[in-house]
């Protein structure tokens, strides 16, 4: 190396050494949980009893508060500067979600990317709360899973209160029994690959396959049923017999008009409209193994 080259190198090194402390000082560093709780002891208290406040969390994350909020030295150095506060609200929805997914990216959350909620810029913090959860599990902002979903999907609430309904409002099941809010295989974030596969989880007797099939049943349960709730028997979208007559106008009785004059209290009372109408004879409406039931009677 020439003398001038050495001089330049020394100069560069000297500048670097002089500037390094400054550069390093600009990057915030971790201050540790004890520092955080000096001022934010309420936040520490709020974690008690939650998974984030238990010893297991400390085992997984050496940085406690700063695992999620990021290094806090800048905030500690200048606590009155709102711009330096490591609050998650300052992040974009994707950034907020990325914080949680550092640990929570598997299991039910595996298919988050590309999901309906992700594409709509919904973040974990829109449903969950680490510091002030209201639910007994899953750390939700609302009292339970159903109330959490209804906080945005308000159009479904009216359906849940219809006379024919799944036992959601009784607390026997919830939205997440069928839907995965983190992203599912099927459309509308259904957990299973299709509506039918989802319904078969609880209604396995409808799975078949059967000797005699009913094609619209095989394709989709929601061709005939409204799973969120209905005014009609058995979650039917429209009441029998009219539901059946949307497809069947065959000769003789399928295409006949059943009206007020054929109800049970009328002179022309017909068992094709009262009680369970068509299904009182065509009882195997979802499919049948009976060699004598091509019309899905018994």
């Amino acid at each position: 190396m020439t003398r001038s080259g050495a001089a330049v190198a020394a100069l560069v090194a000297g500048v670097a050494l002089a500037w390094t402390p400054t550069l390093l000082a600009d990057e915030p560093t971790y201050v540790g949980v004890e520092t955080c709780v000096t001022c934010h002891d309420d936040k520490e208290a709020s974690l008690e009893g939650t998974p984030h406040g238990q010893a297991g969390f400390a085992k997984l994350s050496a940085r406690n508060c700063e695992e999620c909020h990021g290094p806090g030295s800048a905030h500690v150095d200048d606590p009155d500067n709102a711009d330096l506060r490591p609050t998650l609200a300052r992040l974009t929805p994707d950034e907020r979600t990325a914080v949680c997914r550092n640990c929570h990216s598997g299991g039910a959350r595996f298919l988050w990317d590309g999901s309906a909620h992700a594409s709509q810029q919904i973040s974990c913090a829109d449903c969950h709360s680490v510091h002030s959860p209201k639910s007994e599990s899953s750390q939700l902002q609302r009292a339970n899973e159903t109330e959490q979903c209804l906080s945005c999907h308000k159009d479904v609430r009216a359906d849940l209160w219809k006379t024919s309904h799944h036992p959601v409002r009784e607390g026997r099941m919830s939205c997440v029994d069928c839907h995965n809010p983190h992203g599912g295989q099927g459309a509308k974030m259904i957990r299973a690959a299709s509506v039918n596969d989802q319904c078969y989880e609880c209604h396995a007797e409808k799975r078949g396959p059967f000797l005699w099939e009913h094609a619209p049943v095989r394709e989709s349960c929601v061709n005939c049923h409204a799973p969120h709730g209905s005014n009609h028997l058995k979650l039917q979208k429209t009441s029998v017999p009219y539901l059946c007559q949307e497809c069947h106008a065959n000769t003789r009785h399928p295409g006949s008009l059943y009206d007020n004059t054929t109800l049970a209290d009328a002179a022309r009372a017909s068992n094709r409209i009262f009680n369970r109408a068509c299904v009182d004879c065509h009882a195997a409406i979802h499919g049948s193994n009976d060699p004598s039931a091509p019309y899905l009677g018994h």
């Binding site: 201050v31 540790g32 004890e34 238990q54 010893a55 297991g56 997984l60 150095d77 990216s105 598997g106 299991g107 595996f110 298919l111 990317d113 590309g114 594409s119 709509q120 945005c152 308000k154 159009d155 219809k162 006379t163 099941m173 295989q185 459309a187 690959a193 299709s194 596969d197 609880c202 799975r207 078949g208 396959p209 000797l211 094609a215 619209p216 095989r218 394709e219 009609h232 009219y242 007559q245 497809c247 106008a249 000769t251 003789r252 008009l257 009206d259 007020n260 049970a264 009372a269 009680n275 009182d280 004879c281 065509h282 009882a283 193994n289 009976d290 004598s292 091509p294 009677g297 018994h298």
Partner: protein
């Protein structure tokens, strides 16, 4: 700055020292065993309901008596490294829930739970039959003989006199002394779940589910157009499944994979019931109309195979990864579903002779004359769903989504030379089973534009394609376009979407119905009817919702949404299905933990369908047309408050009022058959008022008492239950109570924490 830097440095060092020090468990300084009961609640319920309606306890078990209403027991040891909880709700009741959870955070967890779900359909149904065994309903021979004789006498002297009035008169003395039955079932659902290594790179899970479902539900058992008997279908189901899954998470992606086996068993294969009107079996060409002026023949008892056992096996793999700027994820699954139950014979009616393809007769009660002895059904399903997204610059993002579902029914087609209609008569109409199959493809592209922080616009365009075999339409394609947007600023959030879709199809083959006949008959469905699930349609789907934090404690939400499905290219069938919804909600946070809320929802739905009545042949006369327009209005209003009234006093109140008001407007042009059409206003008019008031008082830090009052008022008017009695033309009904009720539940509870 220097002092802060030193402080920060020292703090950092201290933190490092603390976090790297041995755990308390390792150091043995304390086992740290903690047990917390928070709480255990014993309650006494007193129930007063004015009717026996099963609707009151449809999915619950409210009744007089003590119960363990709640138990939350939590514990931890090893310095909090091990945690467990025991939970019970309404222990001992039909709607109980139990759970046990044990975990080492980040290492493994084990959970087991039992969920009991009752489902009540109706109380005090009148049952003329005696249940003499699983799936067996009998009437004593003397009754059958007496009724058969009386009917035969009438038929001999005056055939037309075998009518409803006559049969009703015969049955009434027996109905007057018949027993009653409650129709209800209960699901007992158990789940055990083991997870290993959830927080690590590899995770494993094993889930076992088992459900027992037992009880009865209403079932239509028919022996002819004029001989339907509603019976309690015996339910004794077992559903068992197990899933083993694994997961690997890397820096830039991951894989999930697993397999699942599911088996459904029905412990009661068949329902057999006596024919009320016959002790001996006969047959004649009109026996399926019996008892009536054309025939009084038929079987002495009917037989209905109940749902068969089945199995399903699923293999799946999910993957995700980042490849440069692209983020991709996908799911693949393969499912095989099998059902191979033994087939029952054509009938139990020993008077019936079957006729085979060669014209020879055979004993239709003998299973050996079936073309095969078991169902031998198998379906394979292959499905894929995936997405790939890439940012385009700082403000745009492009996502592609695809979904493919292939339902491949590989079952053989089984040919039957004929069948027995209603156990009454052999129909020499050759039938062949139809293994419906289809595949469905959904493709879409979503261009998102982050206009500003918190504001996004999205434009989605897509295609849905359906290919079917053995149905009227083989190929249908639906294109759709969707615009969605969302903006958040401060406490204001506005979001919505507008979606338009247009489905087109290839030609409609109304003769597809021939596929289930060995010798095709004349088409007997209206040629211009289009089955709505296949038909051409346009649709509009929209939503606009605003959420506004008016202040730190007050939130307001208002929204409108709707969907309009237009099948107007179908001359007959479903023509239009439209719904418009409004919702509004006000939420006021009071104090530290109090809350008052008010909400209202309104949904207005209209459905319009057209048809034409035909006689023995398809009608071409427009005077035989009929149409029906259904109007359904649904409203729900609710309010609630959770308040700390004073120190130690807590009040929770909730009230819901829901109403549905439906009407059917029916029209048929005069001069045809039908001549006019008469609508009705009770197309499900239902009203429910439900309120709950709970007042709690903390005696001290450990004990609390509570007083609860639940009130419900349910009124239902439905055209299908209007005028129901135990015997109506052609139909014996259980007529179980499932209607109006007014009910009060008073609850006193005592809670203990420790």
């Amino acid at each position: 700055m220097r002092a802060n830097a030193v402080h920060s440095s020292l703090t950092a060092v201290a933190a490092i020292l603390v976090l790297s020090s041995p755990s308390q468990a390792q150091s043995g300084s304390s086992s740290g065993f903690k047990l917390e009961l928070d709480p255990v609640t014993i309650a006494y319920e007193s129930v007063d309901v004015d009717t026996e309606s099963a609707k009151f306890n449809e999915y619950r078990d409210l009744k007089d008596g003590f119960l363990l209403e709640r138990l939350n027991l939590r514990g931890s040891y090893a310095g909090g490294d091990r945690n467990f909880s025991v939970t019970a709700r309404r222990a001992g009741r039909d709607d109980a829930f139990y759970a046990f959870d044990y975990r080492s955070e980040g290492s493994y967890s084990f959970k087991i739970e039992l969920n009991r779900i009752p489902h009540r359909f109706g109380n005090n149904g009148l049952l003329l039959f005696d249940r003499t065994g699983p799936g067996r309903y009998e009437i004593d021979d003397a009754t059958q003989a007496s009724l058969q004789l009386a009917i035969a006498d009438q038929f001999r002297t005056n055939r037309a006199g075998v009518n409803y009035n006559f049969l009703n008169g015969l049955l009434q003395p027996y109905l007057a002394t018949a027993g009653t039955v409650d129709l209800a079932l209960r699901r007992d659902r158990a789940r055990a779940e083991l997870e290993l290594g959830k927080a690590g790179r590899f995770a494993w899970g094993l889930t076992l589910d088992h459900e027992d479902r037992s009880g009865t539900r209403p079932y239509g058992a028919s022996l002819g157009f004029s001989n339907v008997a509603e019976l309690p279908e015996p339910i004794d189901y077992r559903t068992t499944s197990g899933q083993l899954n694994g997961e690997w998470k890397g820096e830039r992606g991951g894989v999930q994979f697993g397999g699942r086996l599911s088996r459904f068993e029905n412990k009661i294969d068949v329902l057999v019931w006596d024919n009320v009107f016959r002790l001996t079996s006969t047959t004649d060409p009109n026996a399926y109309t019996a008892p009536g002026s054309s025939s009084i023949g038929g079987t002495a008892f009917g037989r209905a195979p109940l749902v068969p056992d089945n199995e399903a096996m699923t293999l799946f793999v999910n993957g995700r990864g980042k490849f440069g700027l692209w983020t991709m994820q996908g799911s693949l699954s393969y499912v095989t579903m099998e059902q191979d139950d033994a087939l029952q014979s054509y009938t139990l009616n020993s008077a019936i002779r079957g006729i085979d393809e060669q014209g020879a007769t055979f004993d239709a009660t003998d299973r050996s004359f079936l073309p095969q002895s078991s169902a031998d059904r198998e379906v394979d399903v292959f499905s894929f769903s995936g997405s790939a997204g890439v940012p385009l610059g700082k403000s745009f993002k492009l996502d592609f989504r695809a979904r493919y579902y292939d339902y491949d029914n590989g079952s053989d087609r089984v040919v039957f030379p004929g069948y027995v209609r209603f156990d009454a008569v052999w129909e020499e109409i050759g039938r062949i089973t139809v293994p419906y199959a289809y595949d469905r493809t959904d493709l879409s592209a979503d261009l998102g534009w982050n206009i500003a922080r918190g504001t996004r616009l999205g434009l989605v365009a897509g295609l849905r394609e359906m290919n079917r075999s053995f149905r009227e339409i083989e190929n249908a394609e639906e294109i759709f376009v969707r615009l969605d947007g969302s903006t958040r600023k401060g406490g204001f959030w506005l979001h919505g979407h507008l979606e338009l879709g247009d489905r087109s199809t290839d030609s409609y083959h109304v003769e597809a119905q021939h596929d289930s006949f060995t010798h095709p008959e004349a088409v007997n469905n209206l040629p211009d009817l289009r089955k709505f699930d296949e038909a051409e349609r346009d649709y509009l789907d929209y939503l606009l919702q605003a959420d506004w934090a008016l202040s730190e404690t007050l939130d307001l939400t208002f929204g409108v949404s709707g969907r309009d499905e237009d099948y107007s290219k179908s001359l007959f069938g479903l023509h239009d299905d439209e719904i418009l919804r409004f919702n509004a909600e006000l939420n006021w946070r009071v104090g530290e933990s109090g809350n008052v809320y008010l909400f209202a929802n309104r949904a207005d739905r209209e459905v319009f369908q057209l048809s034409r009545q035909s006689g023995a042949t398809v009608s071409t006369d427009p005077l035989n047309n009929w149409q029906v327009r259904f109007d359904e209005l649904n409203e729900v209003v609710g309010l609630g408050l959770n308040l700390e009234l004073a120190e130690r006093w807590q009040l929770d109140v909730s009230g819901r009022w829901s109403r549905s008001d439906g009407a059917a407007d029916i029209f048929s042009p005069p001069g045809g058959t039908p001549n006019l059409g008469v609508g009705f206003d009770d197309y499900e008019d239902i009203e429910l008022l439900a309120s709950v008031v709970d007042l709690g008082f903390e005696i001290n830090d450990r004990m609390a008492v509570g007083f609860g009052w639940r009130y419900e008022d349910y009124v239902a008017e439905s055209f299908i239950t209007r005028g129901l009695t135990y015997y109506l033309p052609g139909t014996l009904l259980l007529n179980a109570e499932n209607g109006d009720y007014q009910g009060d539940v008073l609850t006193v509870r005592f809670s203990l924490k420790h």
